[in-house]
Symmetry: C2
Subunit: 289 residues, 2 copies
Amino acid sequence: MGTPDLISPRSPRVAAARRLVRRNFRTKERRFLAEGPQAVREAVACRSGDTGTGTETAESAAAAPALLELFATPEAAARHSRIVGEARDAGARVHLAAEATVADIAQTVSPQGLIGVCRFIDRPLDALLAARPRLVAVLAHVRDPGNAGTVLRCADAAGADAVILTDASVDLYNPKAVRASAGSLFHLPVAVGVPVGAAAEGLRTAGVRLLAADGTGEQDLDDELDGGTMSGPTGWIFGNEAWGLPAETRALADAAVRVPIHGRAESLNLATAAAVCLYASARAQRATH
Amino acid sequence: MGTPDLISPRSPRVAAARRLVRRNFRTKERRFLAEGPQAVREAVACRSGDTGTGTETAESAAAAPALLELFATPEAAARHSRIVGEARDAGARVHLAAEATVADIAQTVSPQGLIGVCRFIDRPLDALLAARPRLVAVLAHVRDPGNAGTVLRCADAAGADAVILTDASVDLYNPKAVRASAGSLFHLPVAVGVPVGAAAEGLRTAGVRLLAADGTGEQDLDDELDGGTMSGPTGWIFGNEAWGLPAETRALADAAVRVPIHGRAESLNLATAAAVCLYASARAQRATH
């Protein structure tokens, strides 16, 4: 056997992958990085979005996995042999690489020996709406990639049918957002770069009631729940990290809702407020079925 | 007038404050750092805990503010003149300091020109229990200071009466925990360093039902809510960042409860799970009053 052949750290494939930590290269290539066994496993299983070639039918596009290429240390390839095998079977190009090469691509200390290159998996807004979603999270002004990923993970956990990132929010494919989503990015249909007005109009036309989550909202979440208005299709619009929304965004919603502050805290942070709102909807929707 | 006198960066007072970024010095001095106008304002208003001298009566101890000393840049002192005035009126020693001195004490880039030295404000477990709390958060194995602070902030927002950090959790007075609590550290009675068994026994004796928050818990939060068992005094035990609890900690609780995962996410993170649990209790308790 001997030592396995490792890809050269100076290989053009390594250079092409490493470039994807930068947004302009991601946008140009329509590719992004997924780190670690959990994300890579989900990327193999994910068949969402277009394949980027523009020539396939919906059926053949649906069959292509999100993972295109995988760099794995020999140790990680042995430890996660099932994931690596599935990646290979799904048509991904697998390279064995030194630990330093994997770390260099990820630009983090410990991607656990695995890093994948994926194609963009976002869907057009119309495709999301055509599926008649009952619970949607709209990230309208979220600037911190970690927060965006965490809200995406919460939306997935709460059973949301779709997530929309507006053009004023952070890049979904930022490595920190991908990491914070803990694989959820690959679970839910996501639309990106949507103007908030178009998102609101599309959702309303699809029969979705829009609630703006805002710490200064005139409606209290408990009152909304008591009023029985939350059992139908609902879209939550989440703002920036201080979870306020500009007046013009608030005006797009049917109501501006605040999570009640029972104690003396000034506010909640974005991710915890979003978790409370999304789980309130999940419970209200299930109580009527 | 001329330039205001600034404290020397080599002053023993600056050195004493800067040492408080390290836990062993905090523990020895029973003092910690609070950064920025929000935390400093709350520290002036906070009269909780003992004064550290051990000679005062409960009444005189209750009158002493948590803030002992304040370093402020001339710009911050002018911008936050009310906070600085209140600090001085409350008996805190106020020093004008160069931006670099303030940043050096905080060891962060932007403490917004204000950093305070506070006395420890935690209370004995018995004092917390004597107040007959109805909603309590127990941080049993929380290792990340940012998570501890965020859960404390959520507990405050949800109207919890007390927070208990066990001896297996991170230091409450870690600067990252103080920062993430966004002032809530000064709002709620907190006990620290409590063995989890003693916390559980004390709470149960005080008539508090104990729920272990655990992603693999046998009870579903929705079922608990539907069962009407959550309207009484409740203590939530939160575990580590993957929000699992060791079996021996779970066994201390009346039930192990999971937040339902409706979608395909593997789990929630600790802070978002805690937010959902604490707000579920807040709503269940209020619905019966």
